[in-house]
Amino acid sequence: MSIARFWRETPRRYNLGGSKCSICSTVYFPPRSVCPTCTHHRRSIGKMQPLQLCGDGEVFSFSIVQDAAEGFEMQVPYVLALVKTVEGPMLTGQIVDVDPAEVKIGMPVHAMFRKLREEGRAGVIHYGYKFAPSTAEDRRPHRGGSHEPSPMAEPPGRSRASA
């Protein structure tokens, strides 16, 4: 991945920067500039608010990877999971700090800041979110049943949405 492309994605990879439709309250990650849920899509233009996901969620489904992608050889076997966040969006991410045999569907997890990959020994290091099993102490105190996501600080530079 080019340096520029990764740099543009920093707000979402570092800080789980998504967006929320101020009409129907649906949350999106990656962020969207139009809400596909609203009946009249055009009404949502200009009404999508930046929003930072809190990082809490649960394992929706997962796979144990034995045949690693390039750059992940040292971590085999590792767990790649679909994580259903408390705000709604489903994220794909690695589950770390756990024996793969202990990962279960429905397991509570929280986002961690980790190295995603290195461009060789001399190249740039890419960082972003992964997930780890949660204990009670890991849950954000202001995020209980009546969770209200906090607005995200304005990201530096442009953020390009991608599927």
């Binding site: 930072q52 040292m74 961690m112 800041f113 190295k115 204990t135 954000r140």
Partner: protein, 350 residues
């Protein structure tokens, strides 16, 4: 001074290895080595962890605990001797990852194991002079010793972050001073993978002289005695040195109890004294005095006379894992997996 610690957080990787397991590989009595060093196990970073990720996790905990708006951080310094880049700051990635950019100053500090305490002093100066509202000082490392070297039994990974400010101070600073000389006890040359050290020279003329002189001068300066402190924290390259220096200076085991974490997680270098301080703050009650004396090879010591305030009783210590959790729990690794995680296995290629 009105400045002090407003919030704090610590982070230690989940993996552990014991001296016994390390000793088995090198034909050494590892259990005896661990006993001699007073190190029962040490933390090991996962392959995707480094000083940047450890610093970020520690600071995120601190910001949530203190309900601090990251945009109010005016300075952020990361002290470490294992910055992932030789050129490109750790501090910029950490600042971005906590949402503190772009209106702040940031830099990396290096002074062996006391870069984190030097960062606290810098932040105290900036806050006291009202140049910034909040300053962040982090001490964090993923250091390692050469395979088979005595350092391999203790060198570990972890870090702690402290938010320094003037409002809602949970632990105020009464006095700080330093003691610095040119003492070549431990070093790592540019481009070298593992550090070198002067063996027994790291003891008396280095660690013990600097820590005792610095601590003694601070107590003389403020007119205190060891009995005035509820807690004392020393830099802890192993579990033995701080116990010995504490006794020499007249402190009891009870005063040292919460500040001594190396026996359970190893020597986290720039994080060592700071994780000890974080553990003390996890237990501290209002109006308790804390003496902390850091040490960095090369060499120097920074001493701090802190006192907790009423605010610590209202402070949210419930969020994030307490340091005790890191001391008690971990996932134990065999040496082969540890060697793989720490990049000690030559994989061929370039």
């Amino acid at each position: 001074m009105e400045a002090g610690i407003v919030s704090y957080g610590a982070y230690v990787p989940r993996y552990r290895i014991t001296p016994t397991e390390i000793g088995k590989v090198w034909g050494v009595d590892g259990a005896g080595m661990g006993q001699g060093l007073n190190v029962h196990r040490k933390s090991v970073p996962a392959p995707d962890e480094d000083t940047i990720t450890i610093s970020t996790e520690a600071l995120r905990t601190a910001l949530i605990r203190g309900a601090i708006d990251p945009q109010e951080i005016g300075a952020l310094y990361v002290g470490s001797e294992s910055h992932p880049y030789a050129v490109k700051p750790t501090a910029t990635v950490v600042a971005q990852a906590v949402g503190a950019t772009p209106n702040l100053t940031a830099a990396d500090f290096e002074f062996a194991c006391k870069a984190g305490t030097a960062a606290i002093q810098t932040c105290l100066g900036l806050v006291e002079s009202r140049m910034v509202r909040y300053g962040v000082a982090i001490g964090s490392d993923t250091s390692q010793g050469a395979p088979g070297d005595a350092l391999e039994y203790s060198a570990s990974a972890g870090g702690a972050a402290f938010v320094i400010g003037r409002e809602r101070v949970i632990c105020s600073l009464r006095k700080t001073l330093s003691y610095t000389t040119d003492t070549p006890d431990f070093w790592r040359r540019e481009g070298e993978r593992y550090p070198s050290h002067g063996g027994r020279f790291t003891g008396e003329p280095a660690y013990f002289r600097h820590v005792t002189e610095c601590g003694r001068r601070l107590m003389e300066d403020v007119g205190s005695t060891p009995r005035d402190y509820a807690h004392v924290v020393f830099h802890q390259p192993n579990g033995k040195f701080p116990q010995r220096v504490g006794k020499q200076m007249g402190f009891t085991e009870e005063q040292m109890r919460h500040g001594l974490v190396t026996p359970y997680i190893g020597n986290t270098y720039s994080g060592a004294a700071l994780i000890g301080l974080a553990n003390v703050l996890d237990y501290a009650q209002p109006h308790e005095r804390i003496l902390m004396v850091g040490y960095g090879s090369g060499a120097g010591s920074d001493a701090f006379d802190f006192e907790t305030t009423e605010e610590i009783a209202r402070f949210d210590r419930g969020y994030g894992r307490p340091v005790q959790d890191y001391l008690d729990h971990g996932i134990e690794l065999p040496y082969a997996v540890y060697a793989k995680f720490r990049g000690k296995i030559h994989m061929g290629g370039g």
